[in-house]
């Protein structure tokens, strides 16, 4: 691990000021916020992340979950994943979020990992994590050996010629289906970013994973008021029953009335370069009968743009079945 200076900013403004001194908030950032540390320290040990300064934000007042005035929920940036998953309001009104968080990592890691850290969780692509290998995300322009290499777990949606790395988060998938909003304190003031716009697809700049700029500090994530009568399910498929990343997952929030789907929010995990909202599946569902045929059609629509690699074509059918099953489960809850 490279040496670094450890700083504990006295407040959010000081944290933003110090963080604004980095040239990029993306891969290669010289200043990093640290909260749980579960991604960052892992990558620093691998020399994938080499910040010269760490800003410890654990003592900043960003660790509460509160009711929002509009009936939604305000989730602090440093709320631990385990606390969020077990929060009564989350369990009652945003069950898909609780399910998604508890489907990820281990109990120990969930006690450490935070809301904002999980939003910024990095890919598990083996080439990204190995500094002996080329990787466009880690070292732009060096190439993507995953495309002709080991890509069984990598993405089939949102890929480019430069990068096929999967976003590994479970929490993010639920956040997208719930249409969360990420609140950022930046060098130029605060701003709110819909989570669907927060992550970006790799294109020709896979080193850029989010819209964050130098100085940007995620302070909280808000959830809109719960949709009355909606059914929520997170379904995760993986190589073993626990403590493993998704090969395919689905977060669904649907409302069924008179046997028909009246509202649908659908997001996929384990298959996209970012947490993958599927407006195609949502459009295919609304107004249709809440039955297996409709759910299969929605799944077909969601994966229509999929581009398989040499080892992961199985993910197309797996993801379809995952989504159809999640919808079926939600409709019969």
């Amino acid at each position: 691990m490279h040496t670094f200076e450890f700083v504990r900013p006295k407040d959010s403004a000081a944290a933003v000021g110090l963080a604004a001194q980095t040239k990029t908030a993306q891969q290669g950032a010289q200043v990093r916020f640290v909260a749980g540390g579960t991604t960052l320290l892992d990558l620093m040990k691998l020399n994938v992340e080499t910040p010269s300064r760490l800003l410890d934000i654990n003592r900043l007042p960003l660790s509460t979950v509160e009711a929002a005035p509009d009936g939604g929920l305000k989730i602090g940036a440093t709320v631990r994943n385990s606390d969020l998953a077990h929060h009564p309001r989350v369990q009652q009104d945003y069950a898909v979020l609780s399910q998604a968080i508890l489907a990820g990592a281990s109990a120990q890691l969930r006690n450490m990992a935070t809301t904002a850290g999980n939003l910024l969780q990095r890919t598990r692509c083996a080439y990204f994590r190995d500094t002996a290998m080329p990787c466009n995300k880690r070292e732009p322009g060096t190439g993507c050996p995953a495309i002709a290499g080991s890509n069984r777990t990598l993405a089939i949606l949102g890929t480019s010629e430069s990068c096929i790395a999967t976003n590994p988060s479970d929490m993010n998938v639920a956040m997208v289906a719930l249409e969360a909003v990420v609140h950022v304190q930046g060098a130029k003031g605060p701003r709110a970013i819909p989570v669907g716009d927060f992550h970006v697809v790799p294109g020709n700049t896979p080193q850029r994973e989010t819209v964050l700029e130098p100085g940007d500090l995620i302070t909280l994530v808000t959830l809109p008021p719960p949709v009355a009568g909606s059914k929520q399910v997170y379904l995760k498929l993986r190589d073993r029953a626990s403590y493993e990343f998704a090969l395919a997952s689905a977060a669904v929030v649907i409302t069924v009335s008179g046997g028909k789907v009246t509202r649908a929010r659908v997001a996929l995990g384990g298959v996209g370069t970012k947490p993958w909202r599927s407006p195609e599946a949502e459009a295919a569902l609304v107004g249709q009968a809440a039955d297996a045929a409709s759910f299969r059609k929605a799944a077909e629509a969601a994966l229509r743009g999929a581009r398989p690699q040499s080892e992961n074509a199985y993910k197309i059918e797996l993801s379809k079945r995952c989504l159809a099953h999640a919808l079926q489960t939600a409709a019969t809850v």
């Binding site: 450890f6 540390g37 892992d42 109990a107 120990q108 890691l109 450490m112 403590y243």
Partner: protein, 209 residues
């Protein structure tokens, strides 16, 4: 092993042997912090274990197993390395060092964490509990006794992490069935495959609680 090691063997522990056998300057430098901490007396309250010439070392105060430890560490020092090397509490094990195996599990303010993925400096003032703080050979924690009774280990390397996880689990939301225990223990890997006995040990403690 050389034959002439017979005489000192009785007084020699494996750890002391490994700590003193290194003859190169590099080895001496590597173990410098551990021996300095040993000199400051293991676990003594208020002891300042200063590494010899650690450039850029930063002071931090941890409460480890109820005792205040005023330390000085390189900022890169993980909580795991701090506990093992600086404070010389070696019951906590380093397995993968990447948060994948759970051998390093300790409690921070009563909650279980992977001590390999957090920095000592992030825990100034925090209450740390390691396996040494759970029970003693004469007064085992009920979970330690249950692991013994159910043979919840083979090689033992993962055991302290398993037990620290299991003790924390007692205070977490967890269903009554074995499957719920397995799910919440999935962050602790046992390459020997002692899982059925580990689950049995945990369930016995839960039933008796």
């Amino acid at each position: 092993m050389r034959d002439d090691s017979e005489a000192p063997r009785k007084k020699l522990t494996r750890r002391r042997f490994l700590s003193t056998a290194g003859s190169s300057a590099a080895a001496a430098a590597l173990i410098g912090r551990a021996t300095a901490a040993g000199a400051a007396e293991r676990g003594s309250p208020g002891a300042v274990a200063e590494g010899p010439g650690i450039e850029g070392a930063v002071p931090v105060t941890l409460r480890i197993n109820g005792k205040e430890q005023r330390l000085s560490v390189d900022p890169r020092t993980t909580l795991l390395d701090c506990v093992r090397e600086t404070v010389a509490l070696t019951g906590t094990k380093k397995g993968c060092d990447h948060g994948q195996c759970g051998a390093c599990t300790v409690h921070v303010n009563g909650r279980r964490v992977n001590s390999c993925l957090t920095l000592a400096l992030m825990h100034d003032g925090d209450e740390i509990t390691t396996i040494e703080g759970l029970g003693t050979p004469d007064a085992l924690h009920p979970m330690q006794a249950a692991f013994l009774a159910h043979d919840g280990y083979q090689c033992g390397y993962c055991t302290s992490g398993q037990i620290m996880s299991a003790v924390a689990l007692l205070k977490e939301p967890c269903g009554a069935e074995d499957a719920a225990v397995k799910e919440l223990m999935s962050g602790n890997i046992c390459r020997c495959g002692a899982y059925p006995n580990i689950v049995a040990a945990i369930q016995q403690v839960r039933r008796n609680a």
